[in-house]
């Protein structure tokens, strides 16, 4: 029997059997949750500006990131963020809060394997690729900027 043909046929059959993700409701949820997170960030920024009007714009955005990262880590720690993520999908992954969650969650899981080899090593198992590609992309963009 030709295994390749059999496997191809079976995989095609499985493909049409698989239930499809309903795009519109998931997209909608991702859109509004992501939007709400960004609105919270904007709100924090406006609050900071109201309290300290002399702060520069870049300082304000740094503070916004720090506060959002902290909130997301806290929510991960108390077991809320994974529920938001299950509901919103990309809506809660794409903002900086998702990045915070992707570092905090492995750290929590692997802390019982020791500080160095558990926590520190495994901490970037999810976020690692994001950092690598982010750094690489910034280098490429920088090079392009240099020549034009």
């Amino acid at each position: 029997m030709n295994y390749k043909d059999r496997n191809k046929k079976y995989n095609e059959y499985v493909k049409q059997k698989i239930p499809k993700t309903r795009s519109w409701p998931t997209l909608f949820n991702a859109f509004w949750v992501g939007g709400v997170i960004c609105m919270i960030g904007q709100g924090i920024g406006d609050g900071i500006r109201a309290i300290w009007p002399d702060l520069s714009g870049s300082m304000v955005s740094a503070y916004i990131s720090i506060i959002l990262i902290f909130i997301a880590s806290l929510l991960t720690g108390i077991g809320v963020y994974d529920r938001i993520g299950a509901f919103a999908g990309a809506g809660s992954i794409v903002p900086i809060t998702g990045f915070s969650n992707s570092i905090t969650s492995p750290a929590m899981d692997y802390k019982n394997e020791g500080i160095i080899f558990g926590l520190c090593v495994k901490m970037f198992s999810i976020a690692g690729p994001v950092i690598v590609i982010g750094v690489l992309a910034s280098a490429v963009v920088g090079l392009i900027y240099l020549f034009i």
Binding site: Y3, R6, N7, K8, Y10, N11, Y13, V14, K17, I18, P19, K20, T21, T26, T76, G77, G79, Y81, D82, R83, I84, G85, A86, A88, G89, S92, I93, G98, N101, S102, T104, S105, P106, M108, D109, Y110, N112, S125, I126
Partner: protein
Amino acid sequence: MIKEAKNQTIVFKNKPRIIGNYSIAGPKEGKGPFGEMFDYVMKDDFFGEKTYEKAERKMLEHAIFGATDKALLRPDNIDMLICGDLLNQIITSSYAARAFDVSYLGIFSACSAMALSIGIGASMVNAGYFKNVACATSSHFSTAERQFRFPLELGNQRPPTSQWTCTGSGCTVLSLGGQGPYIDSVTFGKAMDYGVCDVNNMGAAMAPAAMETMISVFKDTKTKPEDYDLILTGDLGKLGAEILLDLMEERGYKLGKNYCDCGQMIFYHDQNVLMGGSGCGCSATIFNSYVVERLKTGQLKKVLYIATGALLSTTACQQGESIPGIAHALVVKASPPFEERTVTKKEKQQFAENIKKQLKKYNVEGE
């Protein structure tokens, strides 16, 4: 002796009997349709331990103790312990085996470990090499999730084909003589690979193996699907079970209402488990609670239990390999005298508390 084996199937002449059975499940499984039937339902996933791995180990020890106690044996009276689980280097089984002063056989067969361990155990008992053999498996959602997928608290969405690894452990004690249901035959399956590469679609990877083993059982024992009161597959889940029905029909076998899948049954639909349950614990807990109890009371007479497993490795999958599936089948028959009544919930609870105390004592003595 050699004539007893027909192709893949061994028919046991000496009737290895199930003299003890015990099931322990997690809180989520406890809220499912079978919650009332499990011998013990844990209040939380940690089971009084610091890590999930330790919790799983304790769960397995609890199940083995419970089954031996139900069989009216002491743990020292067990001659052999056959265990399997899902974690790397089957650590749950091996570490739990330290608590027992008996020969230990660690097996890995992914989620089909329950049927394989009973199959090996029944062969040993039937041949007369060992008198009492304990066969146990366990799986834990949190440990499996961590090893095979993502960290627990990561906020990602599960694909629609994914399954929920059951937290649970089951143990069966087999023996020659005594009363109760017996293992009529075992069919050891072949590793089947139909080229499914999707780690989140294990039902599709396992269904061909289940089909192959099921057809072998029907051919080797000259039976038809209608001859069984219940045909139970391990953890194919909703999608896998549908695929299996299609595959079987293609081969000319029509599975009727007597066919069920543990993965599909163990949770309610609204428990947010997508395709259903998976893991060793899924079929092990249902087999050791519902199936064996019904066989004892004679409500079920002949059961075909096919535990399925996806022999999945994250390393191999990341290298682009497909997932082989495996399925082992047991035919279990009831035999008179039947028990008149089933154990009540309160009695189960008392029994479980008693086991907990014993386990504590035993562990301290063992150190």
